[in-house]
């Protein structure tokens, strides 16, 4: 399965990071390093995909 992370940096330099295609709590491990490198986390929101088991999400992607 392909993992995709979108980092948007606003005109004043502040970034927002979105993780796609990585269900479950493991997605937080992927962004830990870049979050630390960029600065201080001011907000961290999980989405519906966060609570999906990894296998279920994998088959959903295959069927798309």
């Amino acid at each position: 399965m392909s993992e995709r992370i979108i980092i948007r940096i606003d005109p004043s330099g502040n970034p927002t990071i979105k993780v796609e295609g990585h269900p479950g709590p493991g997605c937080k491990d992927i962004t830990k390093a870049v979050e630390k490198a960029l600065g201080t986390v001011v907000s961290d929101k999980t989405t519906n995909e966060y609570s999906l088991p990894a296998q279920a999400e994998a088959s959903r992607h295959v069927n798309c």
Partner: protein, 147 residues
């Protein structure tokens, strides 16, 4: 998408800042302990972002490292903080030229620095990184993918 993180940018990585300055035609000078500015505090600006609110004016002009640019008369000072990050100081008076090159509040430099830091970190984790600039909104977008 499984989570969204909003970050307040801090300048921590001098190598990435040097790369950002270089991409904008400037140069990071490591160990330069003064930066060019008007040279005298005029006490004529009292906005919320006025430099004296964050730093004693007696320390203006002193820094740990500096950024210079051939089109700017003035320079940017980087002052190391206790947590290891750097405060970016700049005299934005028009003739100094810094705002024209690096944006108001040096925001263009900070944005470019953010892109350099993020790309470096993601590549280290095996991601390929593609940068897209949205000229309408002024946002930079890094698309990082890994299979």
């Amino acid at each position: 998408m499984s989570h969204v993180v909003v970050i307040e940018l801090q300048v921590k990585d001098l190598q990435a800042l040097g790369e950002a300055a270089k991409q904008m035609g400037g140069e990071l000078v490591i160990g330069q302990t003064t930066y060019k500015w008007y040279g005298r505090w005029m006490d004529d600006y009292h906005g919320q972002d006025a430099a004296y609110r964050k730093m004693n004016p007696e320390k203006f002009g002193k820094c740990d490292h500096a950024v210079k640019h051939p089109n700017c008369q003035y320079e940017i000072g980087l002052v190391r903080q206790e947590d290891g990050s750097f405060t970016v100081l700049a005299d934005e008076w028009g003739a100094g030229g810094l705002s024209q090159v690096f944006g108001k509040g040096m925001q263009k430099l900070k944005q470019r620095y953010g892109a350099c830091v993020a790309a470096k970190s993601m590549r280290r984790q095996g991601f390929s990184v593609k940068e897209v600039a949205d000229e309408e909104t002024g946002y930079l977008r890094l698309v990082c993918s890994r299979t």
